[in-house]
């Protein structure tokens, strides 16, 4: 059998017929690039957020090494480093127990030696200067330098107080370089040189195994071939190097894997995957709507050409290939254009996504990963191929004889023969009849325009369903809550980070102050007698479990939320009753399974009255209480960083009599409405200048957080619907252009029998307005449906949302749509016009 090489002919035909369709090509390229743009935006946002989150967690963890072995001696390090599983290993040595300069009381600083690999893995990139070389050279992060009051200048002098072997030693250093502090990493770092280690070798001999002093111990950061089964690999390295995993063994090595790798799969939860798949489908569908439409129209217009090709012997497959080839050639231009613009749009949207996460302060990293472009490009091309499948089929199935008679929107596609009316000559009716010539295309255009509106409406529904009051009440009981900065980092422990009386006093003296109340608490203050020992809480020497209690002054006490039992302040004042705290979920429903005692049950609290080091020597006081009721533990009345078997609430006076050294955890207060702003300003200034360790939380801060959240939803939803909208408008313009071009001759007829230009334009405007009307009806229906079946369940999932049915965004864009419906047909008509009636009549013959 002779195999004819037809590919060259096909290539020629595709390229030549491509050249014939300039207008279609431009529209198709725009459509394809918009589709690619949407895909890229999505992928960039997805991957960019993932990347930024992962990097942020890594930096919090202090580096991107896979695992760390801690408290090693030099010999142990040498022993381990050649293990075959280890791809890279960093050597890091801690040079003193503590840096004791008073400037570091708020933010600790550590004094280390890092080798080059260590600096790489720890993301240390010098802004200025060089790595330390001489024994008295150090490099330091910028925040630490600022705390010390040292200028960010190479060659600056600095003096460190080091705790070495329990003695404070002061040493002077020269700054050889500095780097910008990472805001998510809350510890200052000072690195000395290798020469420093050699110079002070004798004080760096590790005595960790005797007295747990880390000075001189080595931390090894390990990097394996990949990040799978890190714990297994770490264990293997330890055991195969001849060490033990058993804590009690003398050969025990302490190690842990980098938790940022463990938490990387967070992004792949079902919800995220579903959202991503839904978004991808939506984009594919949108792209399909327009690309299909464009090719379908152009195939219809060229149907005679394809009929001719068939007459002279082109096979169906070849015709399909011609069309697919054209589409791919157009993609060659459109896709890269979309990829590029999409990446930048996506990149600029990532900050909005990250804005409200814990990582808000983190530096954003959206690198142009090849995956973004590969995936988006692939999806775009697949969409193009799917979209051109049917038009290709139509063109390839046409019979040569039929093709000659085929005319778009003409005889055959009407599908009906009778029309019982006598006033179809009226402009609006004629316009409507014109739209029903190709019902499917009209539907596609209307649908494509509606999609963006529905998305817009959904975005607004979600943002409007966010309930500010719910959000506020979750974080704020009172207008303001002030405390030590650590408290707001969820790191309040006790007297180390108590709220100062001076701070409270300053606040009380402010104008507009109305009422306030202290909340007392602390960790390791109380224990409770319990028979329950298998709960995972470590009992103390007497067999008691840790408990946390909060002593509340009147304002916070009266704001407690009762779950069951009674909230009788007189009974509480009698010192015989206590309230048990029960955690609540995000929707404020109590999680009673965490309550330990029944209402009416008697409990015994003990308090330590000595040091923790000799547990049995402690004086020991016991108090018996009856549980009066259960109250909710809320963000505003809790916050002690300690594991507790049970949580209790008592009046402040009772609490103070119970513990030896009561500590103020926080102070809640209200101000008169007209002084909210001035109090806010005062607190801002006060916590910056007078007591920088103190911090505050106000309704205003929470309100801003909330607004930010709303903005995020609106900006992202809005941007995506804007792009979808552009696609819709393009589709509309394309449909309008085609219908005007194909009806040229009909227009000429109408004009020759006396239709004025004005009447013709009126008819076209009516057609445009019918599209708009259809779009509005369709998007109201779909928008309501979406609101009810997508947005409502979503709002129920989020505790701070209360579903709110809205449809006004649709009406808000109505004027824009109307203008489009009027202007677009007119512009297209005047652009396509210019020929005289005679010429237009002739062109048909």
């Amino acid at each position: 059998m002779i195999h004819i090489k037809s590919s060259k002919a096909i290539k020629n035909l595709s390229i030549n017929s491509l050249k014939m369709n300039k207008t279609r090509n431009i529209i198709a390229i725009i459509a394809i690039s918009l589709t690619a743009l949407l895909f890229t935006t999505l992928f960039t946002m997805g991957l960019g957020t993932m990347e930024s989150l992962q990097r942020a967690t890594m930096r919090q963890a202090g580096g991107d090494g896979h695992a760390t072995l801690k408290y090693l001696t030099d010999e142990e390090f040498e022993h381990i480093k050649s293990h075959p599983l280890i791809k890279e290993i960093a050597y890091e040595r801690i040079l003193c127990k503590k840096v004791t300069n008073p400037e570091f009381s708020k933010r600790h600083a550590e004094f280390w030696y890092y080798d080059d690999i260590g600096m790489n893995l720890g993301f240390i990139e010098l802004e200025d200067g060089h790595k330390p070389a001489a024994y008295n050279e150090v490099i330091v992060d910028s925040t630490t330098l600022q705390l010390l009051g040292v200028p960010l200048k190479v060659g600056a002098q600095l003096s460190l107080k080091l705790d070495i072997d329990g003695k404070e030693v002061q040493r002077d250093f020269i700054l050889s370089g500095w780097w910008k502090s990472d805001p998510v990493f809350n510890v200052g770092l000072i690195f000395a040189s290798k020469t420093y280690i050699d110079t002070y070798a004798d004080e760096l001999n590790s005595t960790y195994k005797q007295d747990y002093d880390p000075t001189g111990t080595v931390s090894a950061i390990l990097l394996f071939g990949n990040s799978l089964d890190l714990q297994g690999k770490l264990n293997k390295v330890i055991t195969e190097s001849g060490y033990s995993l058993d804590k009690t063994s003398p050969d025990y090595l302490d190690g842990n894997v980098n938790w940022s790798y463990l938490s990387t799969n967070f992004i792949l939860d079902t919800g995220t995957v579903l959202a991503l798949v839904a978004a991808l489908l939506l984009v594919t569908f949108t792209g399909y709507l327009i690309i299909y439409n464009i090719f379908q129209i152009s195939v219809m217009r060229d149907i005679r050409f394809y009929g001719l090709l068939k007459t002279i012997g082109t096979s169906s497959g070849q015709i399909r290939r011609i069309i697919r080839r054209q589409a791919l050639l157009l993609s060659l231009l459109g896709v890269p254009l979309g990829l590029l613009t999409g990446f930048f749009i996506g990149k600029s949207l990532v900050p909005f996504l990250m804005n409200n996460s814990v990582y808000a302060k983190a530096e954003l990293h959206v690198s142009p990963s090849p995956w973004i472009f590969i995936c988006s490009g692939l999806f775009a091309v697949i969409t193009v191929i799917i979209s051109t499948y049917r038009p290709g089929k139509i063109a390839s199935n046409v019979s040569p004889i039929e093709a000659v008679r085929y005319s778009d929107g003409g005889v055959k596609s009407l599908g009906r023969h009778m029309k019982k009316s006598a006033n179809g000559g009226k402009m609006p009716l004629m316009a409507r009849a014109n739209l029903s010539r190709n019902k499917k295309r009209t539907a596609l255009v209307v649908f494509s325009l509606s999609l963006s509106l529905v998305l817009l409406n959904t975005a607004f529904t979600l943002s409007q369903s966010m309930d500010m009051n719910r959000y506020l009440s979750h974080f704020n009981d009172t207008d303001f809550l002030i405390a030590h900065a650590d408290y707001f980092q969820e790191d309040f422990t006790g007297s180390d980070n108590a709220t100062t009386e001076s701070y409270i006093q300053a606040v009380e003296e402010q104008p507009g102050f109305e009422e306030g109340g202290r909340l007392y608490s602390g960790s390791n203050v109380l224990t409770i007698e319990s028979n329950n020992t298998n709960e995972g809480y470590e009992a103390d020497a007497r067999g008691n479990l840790p408990a946390v209690a909060f002593g509340l002054e009147d304002l916070p006490l009266h704001r407690l939320q009762l779950i069951d039992g009674e909230l009788d302040f007189n009974k509480l004042a009698s010192k015989r009753y206590i309230l048990e705290g029960v955690p609540v979920d995000d929707n404020n429903n109590p999680e009673m399974e965490y309550s330990r005692f029944h209402v009416g049950e008697k409990i015994t609290l003990h308090n330590y009255m000595g040091t923790i080091h000799d547990p049995l020597d402690q004086k020991y006081a016991s108090n018996e209480f009856t549980v009066l009721g259960h109250v909710s533990i809320k963000a505003t009345n809790s916050g002690t960083a300690a594991a507790a078997y049970a949580t209790f609430y008592l009046p402040a006076d009772l609490y103070k009599s119970l513990v030896q050294q009561p500590v103020v955890m926080s102070y809640a207060f209200n101000v008169s409405a007209d002084h909210e702003a001035s109090m806010e300003n005062f607190l801002k200034q006060y916590t910056e200048i007078a007591e920088p360790m103190m911090h505050y939380k106000s309704k205003l801060i929470v309100r801003n957080e909330f607004k930010g959240l709303q903005t995020t939803v609106v900006v992202i939803g809005g941007t995506l619907s804007l792009i979808l909208g552009l696609i819709g408008i393009l589709n509309f313009a394309n449909a309008m252009l085609t219908s005007i071009l194909t009806r040229r001759q009909e227009f000429a007829t109408l004009q020759s029998i006396g239709m004025t230009n004005k009447q013709l334009k009126t008819m076209l405007i009516y057609e445009g307005l019918y599209f708009v009307a259809g779009t509005i009806v369709c998007s109201i229906l779909l928008g309501s449906l979406f609101s009810l079946i997508i947005a409502r369940p979503l709002s129920h999932l989020m505790w701070f949302m209360s579903y709110n049915f809205i449809i006004w965004p649709l009406f808000a864009v109505l004027p824009i749509l109307t203008v489009l419906g009027v202007v677009l047909p007119l512009v297209i008509y005047s652009l396509s016009g210019g020929k005289s009636i005679v010429e237009q009549l002739r062109s048909a013959e």
């Binding site: 929107g409 003409g410 005889v411 055959k412 009407l414 009906r416 023969h417 009778m418 029309k419 019982k420 009316s421 006598a422 006033n423 179809g424 000559g425 009226k426 004629m430 009849a433 014109n434 029903s436 010539r437 001759q745 009909e746 007829t749 109408l750 004009q751 020759s752 029998i753 006396g754 239709m755 004025t756 230009n757 004005k758 009447q759 005289s836 009636i837 005679v838 009549l841 048909a844 013959e845």
Partner: protein, 225 residues
């Protein structure tokens, strides 16, 4: 009474050496109620002449006077309105509006003028042309001859001063052509309608009251009655 008159009508396409004289000084007079056929080979200028008469195109020089009005002096929009009141067109390819049914197509020029159609007059036209059973059909459901009859009805509906037909039988077989021509002739008599048709078919032309022959843009016979 003359309903249509041209004086020294010229249409020149292009200029200088490549100038084509499509019409070269046509002086034509058509009486009220007359049925005139203009005949000529293709390229003789007969279609151009018809376009000039219908105000679809403007002459290079000379005048076209319809019902006493010099139409070359009218502005575009005025011309359109004049056309829909005073002229009816019948085209070779019928040019019906596909989304309107027969009845709507026929009254379209009247409605475009914002007027109410004369019902009894319309039913006479429809009966004469044998369209009374097809009033609510869409053009796609009609044969070529039927479509052309609708086009004739449309041209007659607004009681124009003159009907211009451009190869009205060009797309029809010979039997249907004669039927249609018969109907045109009957209409011209019954409704006292002035009709000018263009054709290259001698046999068709024979049915007219007068035959005007055009060659190379000039009238060669049939000047005036």
């Amino acid at each position: 009474m003359q309903i249509l008159e041209t004086t020294n009508l010229k249409k020149i396409y292009g200029s200088g050496e490549t100038a084509v004289h499509a019409l070269d000084g046509i002086n034509l007079k058509v009486e009220n109620g007359e049925f005139v056929a203009i005949i000529g080979t293709s390229g003789s200028g007969k279609s151009t002449l018809l376009h000039m008469l219908g105000g679809l195109d403007r002459p290079s020089s000379g005048e076209v006077i319809v019902d006493g009005k010099n139409i070359s002096s009218l502005k575009d929009e005025e011309l359109t309105i004049f056309r829909r009141r005073k002229m009816g067109f019948v085209f070779q390819n019928y040019n019906l509006v596909p989304v309107l049914n027969v009845c709507e197509n026929i009254v379209l020029p009247i409605e475009l003028d914002g007027k109410q159609p004369d019902k009894s007059y319309l039913s006479r036209i429809v009966n004469t042309l044998g369209l009374d059973h097809k009033l609510y059909d869409l053009p796609s459901n009609l044969s070529g001859g039927q479509q052309q009859r609708v086009a004739i009805a449309r041209a007659l509906a607004s009681k124009p001063a003159i009907i211009l037909a451009d190869e009205p039988t060009g797309n029809l077989d010979s039997k249907t052509s004669l039927d249609v021509m018969g109907l045109i002739k009957v209409s011209s008599q019954q409704f006292r309608q002035t009709i000018v048709i263009i054709t290259h078919n001698e046999e068709i032309a024979q049915m007219a009251d007068r035959i005007i022959r055009i060659e190379d843009g000039k009238m060669v016979s049939g000047e005036n009655r």
